[in-house]
């Protein structure tokens, strides 16, 4: 690990000016950044510790629910507001990482975790995300874990966060502390498709500090389920995941929110599935027809073609589980 300086900040205000220097990186939980530093993937020259700047806790506001960026995953899962009003978020977090990591990792850091693409994580191989212009061996190589949506000839790495999938389904916003003041960015717009600049992953500008995640009121108090399919039963990233939240009135689907993980270069909203749900009767046939649209536009490779039927089945199961939850309310 290369040498770096370390400083703990006391407040979010003014942080962006301190961090706006090449080689300066924020650290909070450190659970991804330290892996990247140990593996020689990241080599910051200065770390600014933002774990104690006061951006912790969950707050119910009139217009929605605000989750402080430095809140640990375990504390969000156990929070009574989240348990009652954001069950989809609680379930996605409970399926994330291990209990030890959930005690360390923060909400803001979770959204910024790096891909688990084998080539990104292996410094002995080329990777356009890690070494711009070096190539993307995943295109024709080991691509079992890679994306079927949103890829480009330069990158097909998936986004690894479960939380982000749930939050994209709920139209959440990221609140950012920027030199000119506070800024709010829809999470769906926050993440960038790789295109020909796969190393540009988010809308963050140098120095920006995530201070909170905000879920708007209309996306709260909804029945919702997060289904995660993985290579082992626990402590593993998703091969495919499905986040579903539904609004049902008089037996009819009034609103639907569906997103998928493990399949896209960013958390992948599935509007074609939502369109086949809204305005239809909430029955088995509607759910099945809707799920079949989940793979619309998929661009699989030989190693990850299995994700296409897996996605359809995962969405079908998550829809059925949400319907059960709704029926038992």
């Amino acid at each position: 690990m290369r040498a770096f300086t370390y400083e703990r900040l006391d407040a979010a205000t003014g942080a962006s000016r301190r961090a706006d220097h090449p080689g300066t990186t924020y650290i909070a939980g450190g659970t991804d950044l330290l892996q990247l530093m140990q593996e020689g993937i990241a080599h910051p020259r200065a770390l600014l510790d933002v774990s104690r700047v006061g951006t912790t806790g969950v707050t119910a506001q009139l217009d929605g629910i605000r989750i402080g960026a430095a809140t640990r995953l375990a504390d969000v899962i156990e929070d009574p507001i989240v348990a009652e009003r954001l069950p989809l978020v609680a379930e996605a977090l409970a399926a994330s990482a291990s209990p030890q990591v959930r005690n360390m990792a923060t909400i803001g850091g979770n959204l910024l975790q790096k891909t688990r693409c084998l080539y990104f994580r292996d410094v002995t191989t080329p990777c356009n995300k890690r070494e711009p212009g070096s190539g993307c061996p995943a295109q024709a190589g080991q691509n079992r874990l890679n994306a079927v949506f949103g890829g480009s000839p330069h990158c097909i790495a998936t986004h690894a966060s479960d939380l982000a999938v749930a939050l994209v389904a709920l139209d959440a916003e990221v609140i950012v502390e920027r030199a000119g003041g506070e800024k709010s960015i829809r999470l769906d717009d926050f993440y960038r498709l790789p295109g020909d600049t796969p190393y540009v992953e988010t809308a963050l500008e140098p120095g920006d500090l995530i201070t909170a995640v905000f879920v708007p009121i209309q996306a709260t108090n909804l029945p919702g389920r997060y289904l995660k399919v993985r290579d082992r039963a626990s402590f593993e990233w998703a091969l495919v995941s499905a986040a579903v939240a539904l609004v049902v009135a008089d037996g009819e689907v009034v609103a639907a929110r569906v997103a998928a993980g493990g399949v896209g270069t960013k958390p992948w909203r599935l509007p074609a599935v939502e369109d086949r749900l809204v305005g239809r009767p909430m029955d088995v046939q509607t759910l099945q027809l809707a799920a079949e649209a989940a793979a619309d536009g998929a661009d699989p490779r030989p190693g990850n073609a299995f994700k296409v039927p897996l996605l359809v089945n995962a969405v079908a199961r998550a829809l059925a589980a949400t319907a059960d939850q709704e029926a038992n309310r």
Partner: protein, 172 residues
């Protein structure tokens, strides 16, 4: 490292005792515990947060000490396996691991026990299924998992999946 200009001073309360030392900022909490404080009960496995051998309690919560820097823990309380029991007075979880034969080579055992003790406090040990899920951050390459679940169930006084109270091995 008294002559290192980049060294930072860290204050920790380790197993109830306050200690102060200078570290290179790159030092993980794990390496500080083992190499600076000579508390070698905490094991270094993968160094990447995947195996759980380095599990300790930081301010009462279980964490993997390989994925936190010593400087990040400045001012915190740390409990390691050395702070849990002594050879003459084992912690009930340590006793249960011995009674249930919950290890073979023993390398993962300190981390397993630190995790298991935290699990009791977290209250997620109502069934074998729940114990397995909440112990998923601790790997055992010898495959002593079944006996590890037995040990935790014994201490938790939990019920098995049928809902019946499960006797400890010694009662069985």
């Amino acid at each position: 490292m008294p002559n290192d200009p980049h060294a930072l001073t860290v204050t920790l309360r380790v197993n109830g005792e306050e200690t102060r030392f200078d570290v290179d900022p790159r030092t993980t909490l794990l390496d500080a515990l083992r190499d600076r404080l000579h508390l070698t009960g905490t094991k270094k496995g993968c160094g990447l947060g995947q195996c759980g051998a380095c599990t300790v309690h930081l301010d009462g919560r279980r964490i993997v000490s390989c994925l936190t820097l010593a400087v990040m823990a400045d001012g915190a309380s740390v409990t390691t396996i050395e702070g849990l029991g002594t050879p003459d007075a084992l912690h009930p979880m340590q006793e249960a691991f011995v009674a249930c034969d919950a290890f073979q080579c023993g390398y993962c055992t300190p981390g397993q026990i630190m995790s298991a003790v935290a699990l009791l406090q977290e209250g997620h040990c109502g069934s074998d299924e729940e114990i397995r899920e909440h112990m998923s951050g601790n790997l055992c390459r010898c495959g002593a998992y079944a006996n590890i679940v037995d040990a935790i169930r014994t201490v938790a006084g939990a019920t098995d999946r049928s809902g019946a109270a499960v006797p400890s091995r010694e009662d069985a």
